[in-house]
């Protein structure tokens, strides 16, 4: 750290997501915490945002674009009836806000094309801010290949660019062949992971430890099975550990997840757990 009193900030996905997509109150909370100091993220954190939000936005774009969907309302109905996971609900919160701000008619087939154009513009802007609004540590020791799949979007033909991105981002076999997650976990940070396994074995199972223990159970399987157990699906389950291990030790890892309370001390990673959005809103 350049100055012990002013830590540099490295953002976990939970904080990045809140800065990009949180309510105004929550964004203001983080603004007050960071007061115009430089904020850092990694390619891997960007990948988690693309996996949990951008790819769902793109999916909604194509639901709306379907020839069997007449208007915005139909697309929302289909999405809400068929896709129920919590990260998919975020799309249901975004879409009415975005299209209402543009005063689109949810029952009009004429406004469907306008909606597609506006959603294309929003997706392009979101990806831009994800890529450029924050400083990149330029140090992703996992060499995550999904993270660097480009989104080249020509708005006149947005569907082609979005499909290209979805194809490449979804090609986890090719991406896995290019990344070094096995080296990262089994060689570079093997001793730290063994230490985490040891710590988890002594913890009681409760609401605070549940997430950490789940992560460590997956790390244990990786230690037992080797590189074959490392794939993009597994990365979904161990993301916090990867982020903590790859965080610059001279920066403070900013997060909202309980798991980091156990991950960070064991590897001497400075960290700070921020209140949840509900806690901030409740305390106003």
């Amino acid at each position: 750290m350049n100055d012990n009193s002013i830590p540099q900030h490295f953002l976990d996905t939970s904080v990045l997501r809140s800065l990009l997509l949180g309510t105004q109150v929550y964004k203001q909370y983080f603004k007050s915490q960071f007061t115009d100091q430089p904020l850092y993220i990694s390619n891997y954190v960007q990948m988690e945002m693309k996996r949990s939000y951008l790819i769902n936005l793109i999916s909604f774009y194509f639901v709306l674009r379907l020839e069997t969907i007449n208007n915005i309302g139909d697309a929302i109905t289909l999405w809400s009836n068929r896709f129920k996971a919590s990260e998919l609900k975020a799309i249901l919160q975004l879409i009415p806000q975005l299209f209402s701000t543009h005063q689109l008619n949810f029952s009009s087939s004429q406004d469907k094309e306008k909606a597609l154009a506006i959603l294309g513009i929003y997706i392009k802007r979101f990806e831009l801010l994800l890529r450029k609004k924050f400083n990149n540590t330029n140090n992703d020791a996992t060499a995550c290949a999904r993270a660097i799949v480009p989104l080249d979007l020509d708005l006149q033909n947005a569907a082609a660019g979005l499909k290209q991105f979805a194809d490449e981002f979804g090609d986890v076999d090719t991406c896995r062949n290019k990344c070094q997650i096995d080296q990262f976990l089994l060689v570079q940070y093997r001793s730290e992971i063994e230490q985490l396994v040891q710590i988890a074995s002594q913890l009681p199972k409760n609401a605070n430890t549940r997430g950490f223990i789940k992560i460590v159970n997956n790390l244990k399987e990786i230690l037992a099975q080797g590189a074959v157990a490392c794939d993009c699906k597994r990365c979904v389950k161990i993301g916090d550990a990867v982020i903590a291990l790859n965080a610059p030790r001279n920066m403070q890892l900013e997060h909202t997840d309980n798991s980091f309370d156990y991950l960070c001390p064991a590897i001497n990673q400075p960290h700070y757990k921020h209140p949840s959005e509900n806690q901030i809103v409740t305390n106003i």
Binding site: Q24, S52, Q93, I118, K214
Partner: protein
């Protein structure tokens, strides 16, 4: 060239130029009720641009500003300096006549740096939504 042809050739840069007057008035009348006169006109002109030229590079920049200003009527909250900054930014863009993708990206980042929240739509993130379980 007849009048009809002139109308058809209205470009993103020309419509963007017409936003400047309203933005200057918003800068002048920040915090006063009369500012609504110019906010209303600004909003309608921005929409006209998006309706006529949805894929124009100027539209992309203007829509970023539109979303920052008109979601929950946040145009009321921005201050004179911020409006001054956006006037300077748009003036610089319209003076370029043609802008490329790099200029669009740079302009949107400038809006963010001026304090305009171009992604204002809040998604209430579930406390229990653990990134590690997102795709389980």
């Amino acid at each position: 060239m007849n009048t009809e042809q002139t109308v058809l050739e209205v470009s993103g840069v020309e419509i963007t130029k017409t936003l400047l007057g309203d933005l200057q008035k918003l800068q002048q009348y920040t915090g006063e009720p009369i500012a609504a006169v110019y906010a209303d006109n600004l909003l309608r002109t921005m929409r006209k641009l998006c309706d006529k030229l949805p894929f124009d590079p100027y539209t992309e920049v203007v829509m970023a500003l539109h979303d920052a200003l008109f979601f929950q009527n946040r145009w009321i909250d921005y201050n004179a300096n911020q409006y001054k900054g956006v006037c300077e930014l748009l003036t610089s863009l319209v003076n370029q006549k043609n802008i490329n993708n790099s200029s669009v990206e740079s302009a949107i980042l400038t809006l963010e740096n001026l304090g305009f929240d171009t992604l204002p739509f809040g998604v209430n993130i579930d406390d229990n939504l653990d990134t590690n379980e997102d795709e389980e």
